[in-house]
Symmetry: none
Subunit: 212 residues, 4 copies
């Protein structure tokens, strides 16, 4: 038993090593530079070795994809600390962005990159994504119930909100924000979230007037 266990551990460690390395290459060199050979080279193994741990290149992408969604979901749960649904929704947005900016490679893989998706289409692994999306929708429903949001179609609202946060994340990650100076970025993001939500905060009617 001890032996089996140790072996499984070693196996897992190797898988992790490969995945981490792949991720590092992603980050450092971009998607198209992530090749089986390069991964192997980086960990000083032969390319063939990679195939002992993953069926093919896509299998690596799948694994990273899943891992990303997993990390994201766990982080997302932290918003539950916030009781007020409206504040929780705002927190959702901030958490989303911070996941994206602190795990750029994962985020790219999960929500931007072309490659993996195409092969993933038929696969079942959207479930992990859906789970997070449902979690967001639950929050939206709470907001509607509490009168923070008009009672419209939840799916539409969720798509709108997701789009907004994804938009920020992906513009930043794919570097389309040359016009925003890097050190202002995070305050601009916060400002944008405020801008998008401020207007409907209870009472504080906007468009009308004040908002310091």
């Amino acid at each position: 038993m001890g032996i089996t266990e140790r072996k499984q551990k070693a196996r897992l460690a190797m898988r992790t090593l490969i995945l981490d390395t792949a991720m590092r290459l992603f980050l450092e060199e971009g998607f198209e530079k992530v090749t089986v050979r390069r991964i192997a080279g980086a960990i000083e193994y032969s390319p063939a070795t990679i195939y002992l741990y993953f069926r093919d290149k896509n299998d690596i992408l799948f694994a990273l994809h899943a891992e990303g969604f997993d990390r994201f979901y766990r982080l997302q749960q932290t918003v539950l600390q916030v009781k007020d649904p409206w504040e929780r929704l705002r927190m959702h947005a901030r958490v989303y962005i911070s996941f994206a900016l602190e795990n750029r490679e994962y985020y790219d893989l999960m929500f931007i990159m072309r490659g993996p998706v195409e092969k993933l289409k038929a696969a079942r692994d959207w479930s992990v994504g859906i789970r997070s999306y449902d979690f967001l929708k639950e929050n939206i429903r709470d907001c509607m119930a509490a009168g923070y949001l008009p009672k419209t179609e939840v799916d539409v609202a969720a798509f709108a909100i997701w789009s907004f946060t994804h938009g920020m994340a992906s513009l930043i990650i794919r570097q389309r924000c040359a016009m925003i100076s890097p050190d202002l970025l995070s305050s601009v993001v916060d400002g944008a979230i405020d801008f998008m939500t401020a207007r409907i905060e209870k009472g504080k009617m906007i468009g009308k007037g004040r908002r310091k």
Copy 2:
């Protein structure tokens, strides 16, 4: 002089031919099918000829990038038909999305793809993008002046609005909307724009009450 001129014309014509063909391939076959060889083949020239007109493949992408922004800017101008600044802003969003969805490969190149940007960083060619961005900001300023939007930082507001529309466009283009049935997509997009803007339409103050 006449000769020089004619030569320059011919040169330009060839560049245009190459760019158009590249774009056609983009649209018809997708990004990864656009290779120097294929472009050359499509116009029945040798690959080597391409290099007489463009330094390298990236140079072609740069040019398409610029062309995309040009087309976009022209389309964007059509919103000027709408006089009311608030409605004009909503129109901006719709025009943006429709450009994105009807010119997916251009949009991808302009706002999503990694490739061209990296080499472009040092280059000057963001001007065309900036121009469009300024145009949006102008509209936002009008909205603020007319009391449709709180008088906050224009840059922040612009980033928020751009992010929202870009989010929708890029989620769709990069196919992260498995959960939304394709034929509902366009109505969901419209719904999302409504959702994001409806609440502040004049008078109709929202957040307060419910919104039937």
Copy 3:
């Protein structure tokens, strides 16, 4: 002694298991699908284990080669039921073809494939083949003795007859018979045997006449 014996038995059993499995793969998936890995996988052992029982892949092929000749020889013996040497010879042909068609991969290995033979050249293992060949020659001698065949060199006659049957078998197995519809094949084969032998059936003397 008992132990040694048991060990040898176990060793033989394993060899047999490997060979049977290799053959099954041959039959079910074709030659190029037979890899050491796949054999090992099919019997749920590690590839390395195979090498405890066979020096290398070719060694497996040798063994199958021998096994094929063995099976063939046994089948061949059934012609002894036929007493008349001429009919027995015809039976020889039919039995040959049917062995080939019902054990295509064995046949291929034994009489067509390049691989095993080359390494086998120096080896001794033609004996099993020779045995069958001698058996055929015996039949031919009987035919000559009985006046069914002219008393020519037996070796030549044997080669001619073998060539004829092998020709049919190998054309079919290697699929060079596109021109013959598959469901007619077996009747064409029978027809061909008749054609090659009929001409001398009693009375029906053919070509009888003229011929300068």
Copy 4:
């Protein structure tokens, strides 16, 4: 014109060089050793160069296949010199064998090898083979008309005769004739042809008699 012509010549020369080299490798090292890399290496070009002259590896095989049938057909025509249909048929056999033995690689490719056929199945290029087969059948018809052969189905007779010659050729080429000493080979082949045809030469009626 002169330039175009010279270029075409050069192109053809290169194709020929590649084909010849492929053939040489076939002959010297066997089918599985014929790889694009090896061909390229042998002529001291880069592998990529091969692809300038042939679409893919199979394309090379196709070309050789076709070339082989072409050569064969041309050689086959020489039998027309023989007027007597029966002697012409015997000549057919001898010519067939000599083509096989003098062009072993081609013959192997055309009639034995597994690889090319599978991909070739759908292709049209059996026509060249059929042409030769029809030519043989014509001869058989002549023999039947002249009373040298019983008036049976031509297709069956052709298959029988082809099988016989192919059998000899392929046993020799694939080296299953260890039992026949190499320097006797050609006389054994001639003997076998005689054996298969002799029996009906005039007068010498064989098998004459009895046969229950």
